[in-house]
Symmetry: C2
Subunit: 334 residues, 2 copies
Amino acid sequence: MPLEALRWDVTPIGLHYLLTHYDIPDVDAADWRLAVEGLVERPLTLSLDDLRARPVVEVPVTMECAGNGRAHVEPHVVSQPWLLEAVGTARWRGVAVSSLLEEAGVKEGALEVLFTGLDRGVEGEEEQAYERSLQVAGLVEGDALLAYEVNGVPLPPQHGYPLRLVVPGWYGMTSVKWLSRIAVLDEPFGGYQMRHSYRVRHEEDEPGEPITAIAPRSLMIPPGIPEFLSRARVVEAGRGEIVGRAWSGAAEIVGVDVSTDGGRTWAAAELGDAVLGRWAWRSWRFAWDAEPGEHELCCRARDAAGNEQPLEPPWNLGGYVNNAVQRVAVTVVG
Amino acid sequence: MPLEALRWDVTPIGLHYLLTHYDIPDVDAADWRLAVEGLVERPLTLSLDDLRARPVVEVPVTMECAGNGRAHVEPHVVSQPWLLEAVGTARWRGVAVSSLLEEAGVKEGALEVLFTGLDRGVEGEEEQAYERSLQVAGLVEGDALLAYEVNGVPLPPQHGYPLRLVVPGWYGMTSVKWLSRIAVLDEPFGGYQMRHSYRVRHEEDEPGEPITAIAPRSLMIPPGIPEFLSRARVVEAGRGEIVGRAWSGAAEIVGVDVSTDGGRTWAAAELGDAVLGRWAWRSWRFAWDAEPGEHELCCRARDAAGNEQPLEPPWNLGGYVNNAVQRVAVTVVG
């Protein structure tokens, strides 16, 4: 997502970030079915029409890749070299996971639910479908949904057509696309994407901590105009505004601070209302009288759980969850 | 565009390639107007409703970036490092440029038409709006259009909302987005994007040749499944098909050849019909009995003007127009 797209409450289709682990699968919705099985009283096999016939939920969600910010991590980590653009907000519409689990009847002893996609590839020398699990308890109480529409249209292929999981507040790796199967399990799922990927580790041989809720982040729309190759910014002198968005999966955003001197001094930005609800970003704005010269603009969010963006990128093997403050160098011309 | 998206005749929105020179401008269509001026009898100022009230044309167009293939050029050229994915096909709908020029009445002595976008940036140390010109003669006779819809929906912001130029058969740099002004000129336009960018040059101080029509290219859908990091392909042994698309702006595609041994031997693929007309890609297919081992798959298109894809990437300063054959290494497992 180019950062000027922060101007929209809901990110237009084609500007929302994408991470496609393997290839986008070729799915004929007429033949496609979702299997709901495992430790359930009533296994289900559902067509897209079956799902559309069920009660509808719509949730605006800010989704972010766990690798967002990776390109700023030192030493460099080889994977998708996201700068800060791996984020977007969409209105997802579909069926609540909690209601589908209730319909199937989760049996006693159930611990996790495994979500399996149709996308296949090789990773860590294992051929696999992309699949990840979540704890039953969180799904029964939470706002996760199986989405067949985004921003009022059927899911485009790249967003998981015909059906995907969307887990509000969690990094995007959890929201399995191109769903084919939901299986209730009585033990923790130990597949590659749980056991190896998406864990914060500092040594190859440690198990590490699983990645879960989105850490707080704020981003500004880089002001002014860009230089083509370097993307350096040029801003006209005078009174203006710095505007952006802030979000956190762990707890509500309670404040955004802005610095125009590279982080030496900070002042509070004005937070907009949570117009899209708990799971989507909030806007913020900050008045700035731009004086000619070189400036480094920064923004820093904090949430109600006391989490705050760090000034320097944290390092880990996967280059995950780098929510260090954004820094935008600008040249103000008078 | 991920190459598996070659499976669609018309590329879904969000999978078509994008190149945004500067930032995506923030446009309120209610205030927006298109100026048609310069060497015309009747200057026009048109709203989006004015344009929608005019006769409608729809043209399916395969658009490709002049920098497509740049990442394969040696020595490396610093700019957008496209592998082969900077292409897409869309149904563009709007007003024919020829009819608008006729309505405005092009005066005698007119030589070029300048198309100016609302996107601003700094390039070659010049602050500029993105703008490029075309010869009047080609526009009067050609199929260029001013598009306000793509694939049946209003232009998304990233594709030039509310109005863009689309020039079938030319590389994408010609199809100016976020149009604000069309000016008829009596001399060649010498702006940065004509004089410096988008020219094939081998020395910094030579004027070089302007980039115009799209050179022939064919691309296959990489068969099998990918390895996550390397994107190397793994294919199951047995009878199957290699499928892809081919296009050329200069003349119709007349043949596609496929090699499964890295270009030592070639055989003809079966060309599909030109179902989307002259300006869009054609499908092709090739039967392949995949035997276990390592293979390098290649495809090579030629057009009716005798242009054929080269086996090795041509080099030039900008890394433009590299239409060397695609090479896909696959491991066939038995």
